[in-house]
Structure formats: C-alpha cells, structure tokens
Amino acid sequence: MSLPEKLSPEKLYKTCNPGEFSFRSTADLDGPIKATGQERAFEAIAFSMGIKHDGFNLFALGPNGTGKQTAIMQFLATIAPLAPVPSDWCYVNNFKQPRHPGALKLPPGKASTLSRDMEHLVEALLTVIPSAFSSEEYQVEEKNIREKFQEHQAEAFEDLEKKAAEQHIALIRTPAGFAFAPEKNGEVLKPEEFMSLNKKEREAIEKEITNLKSAMQLIMVQIPKWQRETQEKINELNRNIANFAVKPLMAELKNSYASLSEVIEYIETLENDIIENFDQFLEKEPDPREMLLGLPAGKFQQKGALLNRYRINVIVDNSKSEGAPVVYEDKPACQNLVGDIEHISQMGTLLTDFTLIKPGALHRANGGYLLIDARRLLLEPLAYEALKKALRTRQIRIESLAQLYSLVSTVSLEPEPIPLDIKVILIGERQLYYLLNVYDPDFSELFKVAADFEDELPFDGDGKLAYARIISAIAKTDKLRHFDRGAVARVIEQGSRITGDSTKLSAHLQSISDLVREADYYAASAKRKLVKAADVQKAIDARVLRSSRIQEKIREATLKNSILIDTESEKVGQINGLAIYSPGGQSFGHPGRITARIRLGKGEVIDIEREVEMGGPIHSKGVLILSGFLGARFAIDQPLSLSASLVFEQSYSGVEGDSASSAELYALLSALSGVHIRQWFAVTGSVNQFGQVQAIGGVNEKIEGFFDLCNARGLSGKQGVLIPASNVDNLMLRSDVVNAAKKGRFSIYPVTHIDEGIELLTGVPAGVLDKSGNYPPGTVNGMVVAKLKEMAEKIRKFTASSSNDED
C-alpha cells in the first residue's frame, strides 16, 4: 500500500487571478446586481407569478442574506408595471345596519374623487337644507299645520267652554289640568253660596258638570291623535322640502357616476338617509353640557358628525399607481395584514365607526404582489392564520382582534369582506419551509411553489464576474470606493473560503456586502482612491481579530499547558483530534487530545462522552461505527475480549459530530497494538465500518487551528494534519499556512483509508491480510490481532479458573 503524499501548496488554496478580468476596476462595470446561478429559483418565481390559479403562491427559501428579496423585487419590477392597475376600494356607511359597513369597488383613482365629491356634497347640503327650511314658504306652511292643530284643539275647548258658560259653569285651568265649577258674575261660587242652593239646583249643577267632564275627557283623549296627525303632516312637509332641496345635488352626483351601478345604488341610499335625517343639517344650539365636557360644540360638532356619517373611507387608492402593486410588509402583524378597526375614547367609552377602518397590506397589495418575511410572520400572533384565511376564502375580512378574544368589551364592526386577488411571496429559511410543509396541512395547499435559492455559485468565470458586478453595484449604491482587480479577486477568494469549498463561491450577499464596506473603510484610512487587495485582506484579518478573543484564550491556555496538547513526542493511545468552535458569527478550530485505554472485557467500546451525556448522537454514532469496524476486522475468528474507553480530554462543554471518529479509531488501534502515535500530527475525518475516511466540515478552520498552535510553539517541519482526501476541494487555507507548506514546514495529508492514516501516524505499516488470512507480524494490524488473542486467552483462562473456584 502506497502512502498518500502531502498536498502541494497549490492544492491548499485556489487563487483568483486578477489578470483574468477585462475591467480595471469595478467602476467599469454597470447594471443591477444580478444573482447568478439562481436559475432554478428564477424559474420557480416566473412560474408562480405567471400561473393564475389559487394556491400557487410562492415560498422563496434559502439562507438569509442570499438576495432572495432583491431577486424577487427585480423580477416583479419587470412584470408588475405591465399588469392592469387594480380597482380602488372604500368603505361606506351602511345606514340600515351601521355595524356592517359596506365595501364599494371603483375604477382606479375614482375613490378619492368620490370622497372629495361627498365632502363637497355635505358642505353644500349644510347650506342648501337650512336655507330651504328657513324659507318663508316652509315657515308659513309649517306654521299653518301647527296652527290647524292649535285651532282644532282651541275650538274643541271653546265649544265646551261656551256650552258650560250657558249653564253658568266655568272651565278653569288648574296647575295640573282642567276643572269645572259653577260661577256667578265671572267668579266661582263660594262653597257656602253653593250649599245655600236648594238640593235640586245643586244636583242639576253636579249633573251638568259630570257631563262636561265626560266631554272634556273625550276631547283630551283625542288630543294625542291630533298631535300625531299634525306631526305626520309636518314630517311629510319636511320630506318634501328636503327632497326638493337635495334632488338637484344628487342628480349631479349620480350623473358623474352614471356608469357605476354600485355607486349609484349607494348614492340612492345616501339620498334617502339625508332626506330622512334632514334635521341634522339644520343648525343646532350647542348643548351646554357637552361644552362643559370639552366636546366639540355647535356647528363644528354638527359638521364633523355629518362629514363622518357620509364620509367615504378610502381603503385603497390607486390613483397614482402604475401597474400592479408590489408591497413588502415589514411588520406582518395580523392587523397590518388584514387591516384593523380602531376605536376612539370618548368619556371613557371606546367608540368606533366605519371611518375608523384601517386597511392592511392585503388591501394595498390586492391585485398585485405581497412580500412577507416568513419568520416575522410566524412570530406575530395570529398573523399566519389570518393570512391563510384570507388566501383560502379569497377575501379580506377585517376583524378586531381585541373583540375576537374578548379583550375589549365594546361595540365593534363587521365590515363587508373585500374580494382578494393576490400573489403572496413568503421569504424564509429552508428549515421554516420544511417545518411548515410537515406540520401545517394548509401550507402545501396555499404555497404550492417553492423558489429554492442556492447558497453557492460556481467558482468559474460567470461566478467571478457576478461577484465583480455585486461589488460594483454596492459601491455605487452605498457611494463607496471602487475595487481594483486585485481587490475583487481577494473578495472572490474570501467568497470561496466562506463556502468552505474551493470550487464554489458564497451566494450570501450580506457577507460580501459587509466585506466590501469594511474594505472601503480601510482604503479610506489609507487615503486610497481605489480599494486594493491589501484593504480587503485587512478587513478579513480585522474581522478575525475582532472575534478572536476566545480563540486566543484557548491557545494561551494550551501554550501554558493548562490544556495538554502534545505536538512533539510519540504516545500510545493518544492522538490530537480537531474541534470547531463557533461562538458568535466566526468559527475557529483547535486541537483536542483524544485518548483510548483498553482492558479485559466483553468487546464494548465505551464512549465516555456519551456515558456522561456530554456527547451528541452523531458523535456516539461515530463511536459505534468504529466499534463496528473493529469487530468486523478483528473479531471474525475470536471474540473481542476487551473493553475500550475513549474520551476527549479536557472537554467541558460536550462534543458533537463524527469528524473525530477516525482519530478515535487511530487512538484505539494504537492502544491495542501498543504502537506510538506521532503527536506532531493532528487528525480529522469520520470513518465508516469499512475503515474508509469520509469528508467533514470546517476543514480549513481545523487545519489553521492546529497550525496556529504549532506555529506558536515553533514549526518543526514534521507537523501536519491528516484530512479526508474528499475534503481536498474544500481547502482555502490562510496565506500563512500556505506559505509554511511551501517552505516545507507544515504538511497536509489526504487520507482515504484508516490503514493509510495509521501508517502515517505511527510510521509502522498497517498490514494487509496475507493469503492465509493473517496480518503480518510487526504491522499495526498484526500487533492488534496478537494483542486481542492474548486478551482472549487471558479471559478464557480467567473464566475457566473462576468456574473451577465456583465448583
């Protein structure tokens, strides 16, 4: 078996050659930021926006900062202006049922016109109606009707009074009513005078008075009826006058909206209401009690109330729109989406009416496109449910949340729902999309299209040019310095480093934008007109430095031997693994000591991390896999008569991942074979049950972490890292690591199988099965087999002696 060669420096870092670029600086580039490599997502967006059926709303998924929103906005900017402008909507008073305000649909721009017309109408009616009712003709007519009633009443009383007077009986008004009494010369008889009359005369008087009282009662019973009749006549007169005054104005209004049947219908109900309630247009004396309470009084109150009653509450005004609306709702709270019914407090009571209905984003985007951040939507109570309900029912129904949940006990409204025709675009992370898909049965019905944005671009000519364009666009938008070719190349290299893949570039625009701005800052500090590669490098280094406190502390503790990491000697059952730490946004690697000890046992490999519940499931899985490898390789013919324990030394915060499983296997093989492992190596890579070494993440950070420690102690030329061969494409190492490799002071070895690794680590051949199925003596595997045999024998002897003792 040939051992893998250490990687050449060229393999450790993929450079971007500035000479490839045709531009001198990003100032030569123009055009918008165009996301490259997102064809799949664009196809999905175009499909979703084009299809007119229900439920084909879009979920744009991908990591934050990959330009999903920008890409969608750019796409919508091409199609939205070509779409028809949607209708205006407004809410109007429902005069019969004020709790259910009516929704009125108008052609674009007509709602605000109608609103203005209605205000003018009220203004005009405030003049026209009072003048009609103060006209002499009306006053005379009304007076006549009232006079007739008075005359009718007076005549009835006069007749009765005359009849009474003929019998010398007076009709007298008492404080509470009427009474009859005998009179003489205009004065009521004194009791003694009355009593002096003879019985017959007294009886005659009493009888007459009784008759008169009955007649009086008859009259009084009729008075309410006469009053009612009079009032009806006055009402009729009022209606006629109001109708006469209002009709010309209404005719003019109807003429303006003749083609809109719904508006005409509303104007007719409005006309009836004005005629029925004409008195509200007449000037009233201010109520002193209301003035005392600080309420708007008199004319202002009257005008305000009328303007409100007949106001057009314009919910959607598309008078200035061109094409379909594109709305991004930054705060997708329930009431911001479907609208809200506000209340005003008056004397401690919450009041509302149709003028307090507020539109939501669904209203504004109706007939167009609504973009919402999925995470924010889900964080807002009830907002997601409200959105789904609107999409499912295809109408916007405004409900007061406080009312719905009985948080406020007051009169509220139930406005007529407005039909909804919209494309909703949710933007969110992949995890959210998958979770919604699994847990919400409605989701897949309503968001049938997914635009899956790539995290990475290919590290090729197109990708590089896309990066250059992005830098150019950011520089122009943010008024930054332009980047020269070298600086662009350095940004591209960093883009590849972010992906951890030398064949890819990061599509995380946010990171690129931040780097561009930071590099501009350093260029400004250096008083340069163009940003150079050195500025980009300084920005990268500064970013690392800013977040390197913990890394420094750990390295310091290692150099002081508080954390024991050997990089010089050779040890049995001990190896340097590599771990990744990710505090905050930055990741860094650092070596950790892994040790393995064996004893007699029944073949189990004890993962100490798992035993104390500090190991994650993937780590435990890795340990079980390596146990599987051991069993398959060494326990076919004999049982594994050992117990092995594996641990990450000085780990206090738990371990996760299987990237240390190859290192653990090497430590175990060393412990079993008694062969020393060279401590100047560190190892990363997972292993499968066949002993193949598999790719892991964060390879660059891990290598750099070990390099930094070795570098701090002094590079001996022996030091290096064993990585999975499949991770070679991921290498984008720091320049100091590459330089050290160039000078032969640090090495990276790509390993494909555990046997290659153990030979590199020990300098002893791993050993291959011979024809007889044995590993040659003197090889690691041979020594492992010998050791296992020895242990099995010991177990056997021990078991036999134990059985004899028991007998």
């Binding site: 009427f178 004065e187 009662q217 009084m220």
Partner: protein
Amino acid sequence: MKLLIPPEEHNILFRHITVALDCSAHSNASLNAAAELARLMQADLTGIFVEDINLFRMADLPFSHEIRMYTAEPEKIDTVQLERSVKLQAREAESSLQRVAGECNVEYSFRVCRGVVPTEVIAAAPDEDLLVLGRSGRSPSCRKGLGSTARRALAEGKKPLLLMRPGFSASEGSLLVLYDGSEGAHLALSTAISLKKSGNTLHLLLLAESYEESLEMERELKQERALTNIAVEFHHLPLNNGKTVVRYIRMAASGLLILSDRMKLSRESVHDLVREIDYPVLLV
C-alpha cells in the same frame, strides 16, 4: 320746522312697569318685553302673580274634580296639593323674573296676591304705570283673541297697556304706528319714537278720509324734527273702518303695533282691532 309733537313728549318714559306672571308662554313673552322696556326706559319692574281665588273656591266645592292633562282622568282636587302647586308656580314666576331682570340689569320687585286674576292684575298697575300682559293666559280656549285679563284690562280702559305674545320683541324689530292726526295718534307716535332703536324702521300707517289728506299728513310729518334721522316708511289707508286696517296689519306683519284708543277711529273699532290681530299691541 313744524312741531306737531311737543318736545316733552319725545321721550315718553314709563317710570314703572308691572308685568303679570302666570308661567304661560304669553306671560314669559310679557316678562321679556317688560324687562327690555324697563332697561330702555330705566324703569322699575314689578312682577305680579295672582293666586286665582276661583281655583281655591272650586277646590272647596264638594264635587270638585280636575281632569288631569296627561291621563284625561278625573281626580278629586286636593286643596293642600293645590296650594302647594300654586305656591310652586309663584316661585317659578319669581325665579323667571329674577333671571330676566338680572339679564337686563333692571330693578325689580315681586308680589303675590290672591283674588280674581283680572281685578288683581289691573289693580297692581295704577295710574301711569305700564301694564304688560300676555294676549292670552293659560287657558287653551283663549289661544285666539284675548284672554280674560287682557279683555278686562282693555274693557276697563287701562292705559298704557302692552299686550304681548310669544315670538316678538318690544324693543327689537320694526314698529308700526297708527296715525290719523288725532291727539291720541300724536301720543302713539311719540311713544314709538321713544321706543325706537336706531336701525329699526318706523312704519307709519296714515289713516285719512282722502288720499290727498293722507299725503298732506305725510308731508307734515316729514317736516317733524323728531322724525329726522329716523328711518320712516309711510303707508296710506282710507279711514273708514277697522277691518281694512286689520287686514293691512296682518299683511304687513311689521311687529309691535302702537296705537291709541283716542283716535278718529272709534274706541270700539280700536278694541276690535286689538282683539283681532295676533300681534303685540301697545295701547297708549
């Protein structure tokens, strides 16, 4: 310039004004008019409330019942309750007087007496005191024409006498004077000049046997010093009977009518006219 009207009559001043109060709409109008005139003429104001003796007598009768306004049911009159109600009315009348007099900033006094209402009211305003009455009182039957007190005051020739009705003012608005050149007409004109506020029009209805005479009257009046600087409108009517005058007044609707019963028109015609028209009248 002629001096048809002696200078001492240019400012006829009522030194004392008596107003009859019974809490009816007409009475309230009378109170307002009386207070306005009292302010205008710096006169004292006396409010009189008469507890109708007839009411109490009736209450003492064995079979007395009143038919309540809002139930139309007869109920036995309770004398104590009646006393209380009448006192309450009197208090109400006094507080109205107090309020209106306060608003007009005039001196006032209030008197309650018991007796036959017209007798007591007329007796309360002796000699030259102006008596202000509602054209009608609380009885629904005398809504048209004159109430019993007004009728009696007119019959007894009580002067000066102001008969008010709701909806009019004694000092605001235009005035209408019946003028036929008689002594009484001069007095009416003098009173009108005293009452007239600047800006209001004084309508002079000239009554003469012939149109020429009427024009002559107008010409003479135009030379009258007291009428210079006053907006005067002259109207002409033949002096034959009161009915034409009544019709004219109704058509003109020019507010307070000032006239005398010592004119060429007969006293009865004047009284008929006062009874017929439904406008406030100041009889001097």
